[in-house]
């Protein structure tokens, strides 16, 4: 506490000024400035491509700045690598998880400095240390001996946070660390961060979620187009002002208007008592053309598996899937995307399942519809290119189509992943958390696109962990709990209170739909 109180005399923990980072011709960061002090939570905001990620990478020693000065405790520093930054007490929880899938949770948490005895890693002490850190983040339920590969994404994220805390950071950086978490976990993280702040830690918090920033931040810095725009005390600017700073334009309305009348007509897709292993326990749902059906609930209640089952990714599924009233079975995604149903799935992890990262933007866009761009045994380049240009225009993808898709920002990558399936003209579109870790501007574009597709008759199933999205985008919302649907909300009944109650399966005033 004494350190925080004497903050005026001591130099700030970390200051950055005039930081520039160039990659060849591209300027990733034109003017980075930041000041982190012990005992404060500093929020960094900005759209994707605003330069936040580059700034974080520089602070955590992943890349070196081209120009500019970085001072730690008032002394100039230059980090040789992430290990060097960590040794100085700067620890980052990355958005792209830095966990090792084949090692156990305990191995991962203690990866850099495991407890040792006679020079060798002391497994028992390591497990005890992992248990203690997991308890600190409120995840006693995770077995430290479990392999990380076997954990769901939200658990991995908590392990990642526990791992960061194990290094006793002076400056903790959370880069979109809450984007994969359930509301429960977010609350735990928020409590934890407040405690760490009291104990004098400096925290840098990068998030797209305004209400988390409102609750946590002492100070906010906004970045746009690679420049530091403004730093201000929390509460000194309204949310509209902040958003204007971030995108340089008015945020007219987050969500496009819903149609007044709920779409009717015969369902294009129906399921009856769909079950798989222990994860799906009898899901009966139907979705009509032009309808956006939300899948809600806590993370990992079977929503993901439901979409995978529909798309032919799971074997041993029981129950029935009907397309236009006709029972159908899909043994692979290739069958699921065929006529007449033309399903499309935008998977959860765009980097491994949604895109082929080393291939070009153009190759990715036509990957799901290759047979259409064929002339004889060869690909018809002219027709393919025409289709690609059409998608790039429609999705407003900011990229050179002949560059690898890996060079794009997260938001543009997701647009490519969605554009690929747009080209297939799906009748039913399945989306698995499509806006995770994506900036406000791109989110809005995706919402508008979904509504357009629905207006043109596409049936849409949208799984999202963001309650605002369920409320703002969906015509109906099915709440999943332990592989069953506990609530089916429609129209004005889609409220935050109803979603949360359903997600926790409390106050069962509406009867359970699944028997």
């Amino acid at each position: 506490m004494s350190e925080a109180a004497a903050g005026d005399q001591l130099p700030p923990l970390l200051t950055l000024s005039g930081i520039v980072k160039r990659y060849g011709q591209t300027v990733a960061l034109a003017d980075g400035a930041l000041r982190c002090e012990a005992g404060t939570i500093h929020a960094v905001m900005g759209e994707n491509g605003a330069g936040k990620s580059t700034l974080i990478k520089i602070i955590s020693g992943v890349v070196s700045p081209t120009e500019g000065e970085m001072r730690l405790d008032g002394r100039p520093v230059r980090f040789k690598g992430p290990g060097d930054a960590q040794a100085q007490g700067i620890v980052c929880v990355f958005q792209e998880l830095s966990l090792l899938p084949d090692l156990s949770v305990a191995d991962n948490i203690c990866i850099t400095a495991p407890p040792r005895r006679f020079g060798l890693i002391d497994r028992a002490a390591q497990i005890a240390q992992a248990r203690r850190l997991l308890a600190l983040v409120g995840c006693e339920a995770i077995d430290p001996r479990e392999r990380v590969r076997d954990l769901p994404l939200s658990r991995r994220q908590m392990v990642e946070i526990a791992k960061a805390l194990g290094r006793k950071p002076r400056l903790l950086i959370l880069d979109e660390a809450t984007s994969a978490l359930t509301a429960d976990d977010v609350a735990r993280v928020v409590t934890l961060l407040k405690r760490l702040r009291r104990e004098g830690m400096a925290i840098l918090y990068i998030s797209h979620r305004m209400h988390e920033i409102r609750e946590l931040a002492d100070r906010c810095s906004v970045f746009a187009n690679g420049r530091h725009v403004q730093t201000f005390e929390a509460g000194a600017r309204s949310e509209d002002e902040i958003v204007r700073m971030m995108i340089g334009r008015e945020l007219s309305q987050m969500f496009p208007p819903k149609p007044a009348l709920p779409p009717g007509g015969a369902p294009v897709l129906e399921t009856r008592d769909l079950a798989w292993e222990t994860r799906l326990r009898g899901i009966s749902l139907s979705v009509a053309p032009g309808e956006i059906l939300g899948l809600g609930g806590l993370d990992g209640q079977g929503q993901r598996e439901f979409l995978l089952a529909l798309f032919g990714c799971l074997s041993g599924v029981t129950g029935e899937i009907r397309i236009d009233g006709v029972p159908s079975e899909f043994a692979s995604p290739r069958q699921a995307m065929g006529e007449p149903q033309r399903l499309a799935l935008i998977p959860e992890d765009r980097k491994t399942e949604g895109l082929m990262l080393p291939m070009t933007v153009a190759e990715n866009i036509t990957a799901a519809t290759l047979s259409r761009w064929r002339r004889g045994p060869l690909l018809n380049n002219a027709a393919e290119r025409e289709a690609v240009d059409e998608i790039v225009r429609r999705m407003q993808i900011k990229a050179v189509v002949d560059l690898p898709v890996s060079t794009l920002s997260g938001g543009n990558q997701q647009k490519v992943a969605i554009g690929k399936w747009l080209l297939a003209g799906p009748r039913v579109m399945l989306l698995c958390d499509p806006t995770r870790g994506i900036d406000v501007g791109t989110k809005q574009e995706i919402y508008r696109l979904l509504r357009e597709l629905a207006a043109a008759g596409t049936a849409i199933l949208l799984y999202t962990t963001d309650y605002d999205e369920l409320i703002g985008v969906c015509d109906r919302v099915a709440i999943f709990y332990a592989g069953r649907i506990t609530r089916l909300l429609t129209g004005d009944g889609i409220t935050e209170a109803a979603i949360i109650a359903g997600a926790l399966d409390i106050g069962a005033d509406q009867k359970e739909q699944a028997a």
Partner: protein, 327 residues
Amino acid sequence: MSGSSPRLFLRHNALPLLAAAIFALMFGLYLALQPNGIRTDVLVTAANKGVLLALIASAQTLPVLTGGIDLSVGAIVVLCNCLASTLLSGTPTQIAFGVAATLCGGLAAGMVNALAVVVGRLQPIIATLATSTMFYGVSLLLRPNPGGDIDDDFASALTGAVGGVPVSLLLLLAIVLLLWLPFRRSLTGRGLYAVGSSEASAYMSGVKVARAKACAYVGAGLLSGFAGLLLTLVAESAQASAIQAGDLTLNSIAAVVIGGTSLFGGVGGIVGSILGAFILRTIGDLLFVLSAPPLWQPMFQGLILLGAVSFSALPTLRARNRLETYR
């Protein structure tokens, strides 16, 4: 294993345990059918052949764990074989020097590989293919003509038996207990698995990536050196043979896979590879005692190998989520 949980132990070690069961079955069958009965000399012959491949498979395991591969292990064995064939004679001091020099030869070859892969950032498969030819070239210079002068007493002492237990098997056990197990629990050992599991994540976690990779190739060189030494003592001669080098390398990869180490890296270990090597060796012996027609033997051997390797694909068949097959 501290903090043991039988469920997790079984799940994480399914393939090596399966390999152990298969080996026990095959070797039991071999002993039962063996016309001369279970005698020490039968065991010693089987052990010497098995340990030789087990050492090379152990060497191969280290780079494979990092997600790489070492196509030069066979050539390093041949190189050390040729080196040892000129040094393992004379006074006990001279022989001791010869042993040390042979192992240093293996180490040096491993360092060349580490240099190419870690400092030169070449892809392991092509880098070690190139160095493999280099090592073969050096072997030719050392021993243009087959032959060698090896101290008889020393050779028979190390390839014989003590109290009915083959000495080579004891040496292998010592290597596992004194080198591999402590290494696995060291920081660098953990780094090896981390790099193979996800190199980028390992780097971001502050793991010493370069050190772990270099250690894998240098370790592979050292273990190949041990194998070269054993080969010299068993054969009591040496020959600079590219065919033998290639054969040993390919068999080492097969043994690694049978033993449950993933070619993608991050999963497995030397103990599994040793079992894999013994399985591979027993296939030939088994065909012999079953008196399979000699002309058919290679084909049978290939078939059985294919069967054994496909066990490592079993977990994929069980996957109910088809996506997992493509990860």
